[in-house]
């Protein structure tokens, strides 16, 4: 978090981005930057466009206007190799999306082996190291079907880290989990944040936002309405929509 160099190229930059689903204007003139090493939480009511926003960063969702840059590179440049570009971004889904026909280890080594064609020994060693980090070294040979939701999500994080991406995107990583499993996933995310990896997390976990992130971005109806440090966001929510959102969500935590 602290190794942000002032004035350096932002890791992710949105420049006047608009997106429509048919007539539905889901992202409206988004301008927003994430510096290298920064941890940003994106929150907002459902349907506010926060998942769409994060999915545009690795081109899972196309945009119709504006530009998005990853480390200074236009991600819609015609010369860009989209598959190579995506290897620099780890993505964690709400529904984990582990490959059910592969063991945990094979899930984590999928990208290094099949996409980057690295030697098996090296890929497996790193995969085991990652599984160790998410506390699941013992489950390397299990199939995802035998794991709890929290364990599956931790494997999914390890899988997303397997190519050592400089950026990690989390799309509501704890929303599909039973409450007692949220903690183990957040703990992994906290330790990642401390390691200085750039993170954008769409989440309703306000505790995580308060303790870990550098900035909170609040979205409503396709727009970024607040972009503030966590203290300012939680202590003095000056936007009425934010106050209503926090009032709705905080009693649950």
């Amino acid at each position: 978090m602290s190794d942000t160099v002032p004035g350096s190229t932002p890791m992710v930059r949105f420049d006047a981005v608009d997106k429509w689903y048919g007539d539905n204007h889901v992202l409206k003139n988004i301008n927003f930057e994430v510096a290298k090493g920064e941890v940003v939480v994106v929150c907002g009511p459902s349907g506010s466009g926060k998942s769409t926003l994060i999915r545009t960063v690795n081109r899972l969702e196309p945009i119709q206007k504006g530009k998005i840059y990853l480390d200074g590179q236009d991600i819609y440049a015609p010369s860009l190799d989209v598959n190579a570009f995506r290897q620099r971004i780890g993505f964690v889904f709400q529904q984990f999306n582990l490959f059910p026909h592969m063991s945990v280890l094979d899930n984590v080594t999928f990208a290094p082996l099949k996409i980057q064609k690295r030697p098996r020994g090296e890929a497996e060693a790193f995969a085991r190291e990652l599984l160790e980090r998410v506390g699941l070294a013992a489950k390397a040979d299990a199939f995802p079907g035998f794991l709890s939701g929290g364990q599956q999500q931790r494997v999914a994080i390890a899988r997303a880290l397997a190519l050592n991406p400089p950026v990690m995107l989390f799309d509501e990583p704890t929303s599909a989990l039973d409450p007692e499993m949220v903690g183990e996933v957040l703990q992994v995310m906290r330790s990642l944040a401390r390691e200085g990896i750039t993170m954008i997390c769409v989440t309703h976990e306000m505790g995580f936002a308060r303790d870990v992130c550098d900035r909170v971005v609040f979205m409503d109806e396709g727009q970024i309405v607040v972009d503030a440090a966590p203290d300012a966001f939680f202590e003095n929510p000056d936007h009425p929509r934010v106050r209503r959102f926090l009032a709705d969500i905080l009693p649950r935590h």
Binding site: Q87, F93, N97, F99, H101, F110, I115, F143
Partner: protein
């Protein structure tokens, strides 16, 4: 009926072989196996074409599949019987004519089974592979197809069973298979057609039923290993 089996079991099993052409149950299995072996890769290619991002490919493959599914197999067999010699300039044996017709017919049906399997794979699986940087081809090959083919194993098994039964239509172009053998036996015995064809029915049933069972067990074992219910 026991006497019939005792006397003619070899004819039911292998036809006139070794004093004549191989036939009977052995030939039926070989025909069905050849049909499946040839139609499976074609079916997968057609299924991939039908879900591909390229519209022209979708239209062409869809037209072919729907056309073949819209004609009776018997007609297709006759058509191959007359068309293949014309197209290739060679006299083709009944065996290869039937294999060819079965392959075309089964490929069309099997491709629909495979396509439904591909389309039933949650979009998140595709997104997971693509977001790691996997190409479309790799995603199909390593993520979508292995799951889709496994999920449609029951459908493919029933398609294979249909193929076994459909080889009996080879009778109309005098292919030496099980039904043909039964008819030969019937022509020798003359007085017990009901018994002869009951034996024929039992053989088909035992073959098809045990195949379904074996495939069902293999599927269940894989499911258990992967922790899928």
């Amino acid at each position: 009926m026991i006497d019939l089996i005792r006397e003619y079991w070899l004819t039911f099993l292998i036809g006139q072989y070794p004093n004549g052409p191989l036939g009977g149950l052995a030939m039926t299995i070989i025909l069905a196996f050849c049909g499946l072996l040839a139609s499976f890769p074609i079916a997968v290619l057609f299924a991939l074409a039908r879900v591909s991002p390229w519209k022209a490919l979708r239209i062409v493959s869809g037209t072919v599949v729907n056309f073949v599914r819209g004609i009776p197999l018997l007609m297709l067999i006759f058509w191959c019987y007359f068309a293949i010699p014309l197209a290739t300039g060679y006299a083709v044996s009944g065996f290869w004519t039937l294999v060819c017709a079965l392959t075309i017919y089964e490929a069309a049906y099997l491709s629909e089974v495979v396509r439904s399997g591909i389309q039933a794979i949650p979009k998140g699986q595709l997104e997971a592979s693509r977001s790691l940087g996997g190409s479309y081809a790799l995603t199909m090959r390593s993520v979508v197809l292995p799951q889709a083919l496994f999920n449609v194993l029951p459908g493919m098994a029933s398609q294979f069973v249909s193929t076994i039964k459909e080889t009996s239509l080879g009778y109309v172009i005098s292919v030496n298979e099980l039904t043909f053998a039964a008819n030969q036996v019937n022509n020798l015995v003359l007085t017990q057609p009901l018994q002869v064809f009951t034996i024929l029915a039992c053989i088909y049933f035992v073959l098809c039923f045990s195949l379904t069972q074996v495939l069902g067990r293999i599927e269940a074992a894989i499911r258990r290993r992967r922790g899928l219910i």
